[in-house]
């Protein structure tokens, strides 16, 4: 029914349609970051003048907004706090996840399957469900208005999925490998550090990126638990304190949003494959 030439022709049409679709959506996906970028390089006069084409920089680019961001606002403090919080969140989350995943995937014990299911269910609990009781818990711990409160609560969002990814990777390591290590006299600790961690490295990188993203992008918890600027993180700091009374704060605001968003984007640019393998292992937030 479908002869050679007609099939070839339909293939070509499929390819052309595919490119048109992708081009249209590439514009849709990239237009907001593009517009943020050019706005951050425009002078306030140009943004407010309403002449010409606002989709281009017409008066020549300026770094004034970035200079102000780093030297005249508290943005560097917010950024530093995010780095600290994220660093410790990743360490804590990954330590808990790797140990638990090793236990749940290899040391089969009574209730291990139920527990693995429980971990998956916890992953489905959104931050908006529990932020109010957590507000009270953080209060009892004396951590209200402290960036360390985030190192306590972010792992609840990061650990379940990180554990889930790691269980998958550990379970795929052939049992012969740990039996061989056992014969050579290796203990559990050596087995974990010499075999499991190196072999499951792609999974560990994917899970680490996930924990990093959760912590870096976290918005609700810092908004609810932290109110003074010296403890504030970059997401909430940019949204709530870079917005000034005057109308033309747009350049500075966009500069702040872009600098705060840059680290996850840069990591993604270099580690896209790990990022995607983490995304498709099970299923992440969407």
């Amino acid at each position: 029914m479908s002869g050679g030439p007609s099939r070839k022709k339909s293939r070509r049409w499929a390819l052309i349609t595919a490119y048109i679709c992708l081009l249209v959506f590439a514009v849709f996906f990239l237009f907001p970051p593009y517009y943020m970028l050019i706005t951050s390089f425009k002078t306030n006069e140009e943004i407010s003048a309403q002449r010409g084409i606002p989709l281009l920089i017409q008066d020549g680019p300026t770094l004034e907004h970035y200079r102000k961001l780093f030297f005249e606002t508290e943005f560097p403090i917010f950024f530093k706090n995010t780095v600290i919080v994220t660093f410790f969140t990743v360490i804590v989350s990954m330590a808990i996840s790797i140990l638990a995943a090793y236990s749940l995937s290899r040391l089969k014990f009574w209730g291990a399957t139920v527990m693995a299911t429980g971990v998956f269910l916890t992953y489905l609990v959104p931050d908006t469900l529990l932020f109010i009781p957590l507000f009270k818990v953080i209060g009892w711990l004396g951590l209200l208005n402290s960036k360390w409160s985030l190192v306590v609560v972010f792992p609840t969002l990061a650990v379940p999925f990180a554990t889930w990814i790691m269980i998958g990777y550990f379970a795929s390591i052939p049992k012969e490998l740990d039996e061989a290590a056992l014969i050579d006299g290796a203990g559990h600790f050596q087995m974990l550090t010499r075999i499991f961690i190196p072999v499951a490295m792609p999974g560990i990188i994917a899970a680490t990126i996930f924990c990093f993203t959760i912590s870096w992008a976290g918005f609700l918890y810092p908004l609810a638990f932290i109110y003074s600027n010296d403890q504030m993180v970059a997401t909430v700091g940019t949204v709530s304190s870079l917005i000034r009374g005057d109308v033309f704060h747009w350049g500075g605001l966009m500069a702040g949003a872009l600098v705060a968003a840059a680290p996850p984007v840069i990591i993604y640019a270099f580690l896209m494959d790990y990022y995607i393998s983490g995304l498709t292992a099970g299923s992440t937030k969407g």
């Binding site: 959506f25 907001p32 931050d127 609700l220």
Partner: protein
């Protein structure tokens, strides 16, 4: 070839077993204690900061505003009498269902588009399409907030120049609803794209070859080969996204703060307004808890699908 490998493994196993019986028994005895020790940090974390807060939230929701008196279901009864609450229920449902539908549709179309490209071109387009997903949502939403600016920004300039139209993006209730949904679609479509692309790649190519030999056209191949093979992943991704979209916070908080006239509030933002900003913790807690039955039902179906998928693989 697979049979040869299995055979070899059995042989190796058989020849080794007698040597290590003693040490393996000791190993087994020790490992259940160790197993429990290693999951303890996870249990403490989940028990203390997820399970306990959940039950505490139920308790909190039954207190009065000052948290001094137990008032039973009075907070819930109060919410049922408020128009704003019903608007939140309606808006959350509309937001989640509309956004997930379009995210799934766009993801499906783009996954097919990328899948149709030659292999060496796929990486570039996949990379470009994932940018909205990678930016922290609160910060990319700031960019959208600026795009929606009625006077100085791009959208109204483009619409004004081309059609002479001026849209009150965030101050008209219906346009505001549209605006928050559009941002959610923008952020979430790449996730569907990646999941569907992975699913497409896992369909064995010989199924299409067989279908083609049987004379199936492109549409028939889609309906009888692609969709059945992707059914499970479509279900998991969709259900999952409904949970996350339903429980969204960042977009509405940054764009409209629930306004105009509370028309864009979701459960999350309304609960934040009542519980944290207005200081009525029990009432805010009750609002958030309304999400639970809906999320519970969705989670049940996700778990069933994940299990199914696990047994299929």
């Amino acid at each position: 070839m697979a049979r040869v490998v299995t055979h070899k493994n059995i042989e190796v196993g058989a020849s080794v077993t007698p040597v290590r019986v003693g040490s393996y028994q000791r190993f087994l005895k020790r490992r259940s204690t160790l197993a429990v020790a290693l999951v303890t940090p996870l249990m403490v974390l989940i028990g203390g900061l997820v399970v306990y807060p959940f039950f505490y939230a139920i308790y909190l929701s039954m207190l009065n505003k000052a948290e001094t008196t137990f008032i039973g279901f009075a907070n819930f009864r109060f919410l049922f009498t408020r128009d704003t609450f019903w608007m939140v229920v309606w808006q959350s449902t509309l937001f989640a269902l509309t956004a997930v539908f379009f995210k799934a549709l766009i993801g499906f179309v783009l996954a097919h588009a990328i899948h149709a490209l030659p292999d060496r071109r796929q990486r570039f387009w996949r990379g470009v399409s994932l940018v909205p997903w990678v930016m922290p949502p609160a910060l990319s939403t700031l960019g959208w907030w600026w795009l929606y600016d009625p006077t100085y920004s791009a959208f109204n300039w483009i619409l004004g120049t081309l059609f002479g139209v001026h849209v009150a993006w965030l101050s008209d209730p219906n346009w505001a609803r549209f605006s928050v949904i559009l941002v959610n679609i923008w952020i979430g479509s790449p996730f569907f794209l990646i999941m569907y692309l992975a699913a497409l790649k896992s369909v064995p190519p010989d199924l299409y070859e067989a279908a083609e030999i049987d004379g199936a056209n492109a549409r028939q191949q889609l309906i009888y080969v692609t969709l059945p093979m992707m059914r499970n992943i479509i279900a998991i991704t969709g259900l999952f996204s409904i949970i996350v979209t339903f429980a969204n916070f960042d977009i509405v908080r940054v764009l409209t703060q629930g306004g105009p006239f509370n028309t864009t509030h979701l459960f999350g933002t309304y609960s934040f307004l009542l519980g944290i900003q207005s200081g009525d913790i029990p009432l805010g807690s009750s609002v958030a808890l309304f999400m639970f039955p809906i999320l519970g039902v969705l989670a049940f179906f996700i778990l069933r699908n994940v299990r199914q998928r696990a047994t299929e693989l």
